[in-house]
Symmetry: C2
Subunit: 494 residues, 2 copies
């Protein structure tokens, strides 16, 4: 099964592999597009084992545990029960197999000596300095290592997740695979309702990219949705449960403090982040500071034991342009900077989440303040949407802002689908959203001068000039759509 | 007919009118959205008479000739055969009915005294200074006056046009009306093949927005497509024919000189503009300077007699990001600046066309150089597309660049459809392209701080916060799509 999901016999490309040198068992898959003029273009590949020739998927068995031996070797070299994060190794100058893997991956389309060629040491140094993360829970050996940071290719995340009324476990796995087919670098499972644990288990065992979650969503299910009944213990147990399952990064809204809430009450749309709303409600009910903030060091200790990366959530992200860059948003961002330093003290890898709805003229300020207050930790933004009136087109409203902030230095862009604000996305919406965000991320790479990104555009333009249609299809972000649109016209005119 | 095209009984909005003060017979239609909380939001309206209650369209008769009396009054005040352009009047401080009309239109959603409220005098002064144009051929009394300039709302153009193999005249009129339904401010008819004259006639008599053309396309049909047989006389006669018909603005590639051609030969994709290619070929064949350049003053004299605005074409617009901002492109842009001054000497209104394919980091330079070299004449750009690999998604690739350059000061954005580089757009593609560009233009207005644009977003955000779904649909750019997406989900979950 899933074979047809990845099958595109008309695409003249093949899986190739590049081996590690420091770690000879590192073997990185890439996609090589074979052009009709004999040239080859090598592309970054997020599809993992699913596009290995002859691979037969089996959801029950799951995909191969690529990192199993590396994790075992680490454990064997340490006293019983001890474990260290990628950041810990990086700070000691130790290049792990994961780091070499991610470095090789970044070099798709580049050769040693090329401008922009990434060495494993560079990945190691940027992780040590907090400027990049490599999300890879030791309980998720299936994930293909990748690196998120402003020095690297701009990454994109796709959110999936069933709701109480929504889809089946099988459908969610298929949606996640569908997202990586189109190029999602990470997938966040935002499921609610029943079957959260089983849905996540199926995704973790079958999807070869880092998986993120918002643990609060499951914690809240455990107290039957009653925010006032939430306790640190319920939340902590949920963290441990998800760490054990293999989640690679957690969104935690620990930066939203009591002092920020009055600032948000002056807003047009108040608090729109679900995690933010939950914490604001909890603090109001109990008349206490956020338990996420008060137990922050314990949270970091748990995450460090598994190497789960911390995505510091922006519970006060603006929900409309009128609220952009306000005291509430920036107050929280400053706290995120403080928490970032504290997490680093535990060797926990950190990214910082950002908005939301921001008009074009105020996007740069978000990036500048984030860099200043968060010491260069990678920024991970939702859009931003540059207007509020794009309902039905909000993948575009947000791609405009995403491309810009990606150019300014944001490391990962969380996609927004066509149906944002209106309905839950279906399969077509996921595809449209992911490809739109690949485009925004690629445009940012181009603007940042990434040589492999520029080379792909050059190959495309030469194919266009030569009327090599097949090459144009295969070099585009969505070969199936490009091919269909062109062929329909050719057929109509025949 | 065409009634169903504009009919949307579920949309809680109505046509309202604002009358002129200087010219009491000026009566400007706008769209008022009536919100469920009793508030009202007034929107700029491009649909003209088609959304007047009870209007029955008749393609044979055409739409009412709104400007007929104004044009007649101008003629009556002048010696027989004399005629002057809007720029001529503006330079003398005379506020025409057209200027007052355009000023009132810009104020949709604003009240006198509001920040950004536009006076007829301001429109007059900006036209006098060449910073804005009001394209309105005296032979096109059907057009509703509007103003294009960086001080005003960012406008969008939709290209339509049949090809030799393509659609019927009826279909082209319907496509143009479909474009204005979704908000196109002007329409360019780029038809080729047979029936060019009749197609254009049907569009001019039935579409209430300024119509642009590239006269070279028809001139070339007259010499059976043989570029080498093109003569000044054939071209001149085509200009006169189209002036007489009522075309409001011409794209003329008069800035592409012999000296620029070698610069373009070094490029990855050479000359991608059709008009540019034709002129390069003509110059190479005849070994002579461009006849458009050599006869430029005669061209201006013809256009001044009808008040056809001049859109100085960028025959050397880059066709890929590798060619962006190169010596060929900027060499031509400098010449466009020179021609702009010469056209102004004839009181001809001028806009300057711009690229094309430009990476995000090099967009600003386009705007800066255009302002410097073209003395503040409005800029009119195609996109720009910020990458070359977006085939099948190029409405988005280009909307990213369009939103940015609109914010930087570009006055009008020429849309790019989903099928750019692949096929001719159909009805769905026109809608998707126009709405995407309305979104880009609106995002630019927001970033420029336009108070009515900001107010619309605010009304939308308040409706969102209050879960007023009907108001959200009606305030969005495509109420039909927003409504459908939301209702499908509600139905699925019922």
């Amino acid at each position: 099964m899933y074979r047809e999901l990845f099958n595109d016999p008309q695409n003249a490309s093949e899986k190739i592999h590049v081996n590690g040198e420091l770690h000879p068992d590192v073997r990185v898959g890439m996609r090589q597009v074979n052009l009709t003029n004999g040239e080859r273009v090598v592309l970054y590949d997020t599809t993992g084992v699913y596009t290995e020739p002859g691979y037969e998927a089996d959801t029950q068995r799951g995909i191969p545990k690529m990192r199993e031996a590396w994790i075992a070797a680490c454990a064997a070299a340490l006293p019983e029960g001890e474990f260290h994060t990628q950041m810990w190794y990086a700070r000691r100058g130790i290049v792990t197999p994961e780091m070499e893997y991610a470095a090789i991956r970044e070099n798709a389309g580049l050769s040693p000596g090329d401008r922009g060629y990434i060495t494993p040491q560079q990945v190691c140094e940027s992780i040590a300095g907090g400027r990049a993360i490599l999300p890879a829970n030791r309980k998720h050996p299936e994930t293909e290592p990748m690196v998120i940071g402003p020095e690297y290719l701009v990454k994109i995340n796709a959110n999936i997740g069933n709701s109480a009324l929504g889809s089946s476990i099988e459908e969610e796995v298929e949606k996640a695979l569908w997202a990586i087919k189109w190029g999602a670098d990470t997938v966040m499972d935002l499921s609610t309702g029943r079957n959260i644990h089983r849905t996540r288990e199926a995704i973790l065992r079958n999807v070869p990219v880092p998986i993120g979650t918002v643990p609060m969503y499951q914690a809240l299910e455990k107290v039957k949705g009653a925010v006032e009944d939430m306790t640190w213990e319920v939340y902590r147990d949920t963290l441990v449960e998800q760490c054990e399952q293999g989640v690679d990064y957690f969104t935690i809204h620990a930066g939203l403090l009591r002092e920020h809430v009055p600032l948000a009450q002056k807003r047009v749309t108040g608090i729109v982040s679900r995690g933010g709303s939950i914490m604001a409600k909890w603090m109001a009910h109990h008349g206490r500071e956020s338990f996420l903030y008060e137990h922050f060091d314990e949270i970091c200790e748990i995450m460090a034991r598994y190497d789960v990366a911390l995505s510091l959530g922006d519970g006060l992200r603006p929900g409309c342009i009128a609220d952009a860059n306000d005291a509430a948003q920036f107050g929280e961002l400053k706290t995120l900077g403080e928490l970032c330093r504290r997490a680093w003290a535990h060797d926990v890898q950190v990214i910082i989440e950002g908005p939301g709805h921001v008009p074009m003229d105020r996007i740069r300020e978000n990036m500048d303040k984030q860099i200043e207050w968060c010491q260069g930790a990678p920024f991970y933004t939702l859009g931003p949407l540059v207007s509020d009136i794009g309902a039905g087109y909000d993948h575009i409203t947000s791609a405009i802002g995403a491309a810009m902030i990606g150019w300014f230095g944001t490391a990962m862009l969380c996609y927004v689908t066509t149906k944002e604000h209106l309905a839950l996305p279906n399969r077509d919406d996921v595809r449209e959203g992911v490809v739109t965000y690949k485009l925004a991320a690629h445009a940012a790479d181009i603007a940042k001068g990434h040589p492999a990104a520029i080379a792909r555009d050059l190959a495309m333009s030469r194919a266009r000039y030569d009327f090599r249609w097949l090459d144009q299809f295969n070099l585009s972000l969505d070969p199936e759509r490009a091919r269909r649109m062109h062929r329909e016209m050719v057929k109509e005119n025949a």
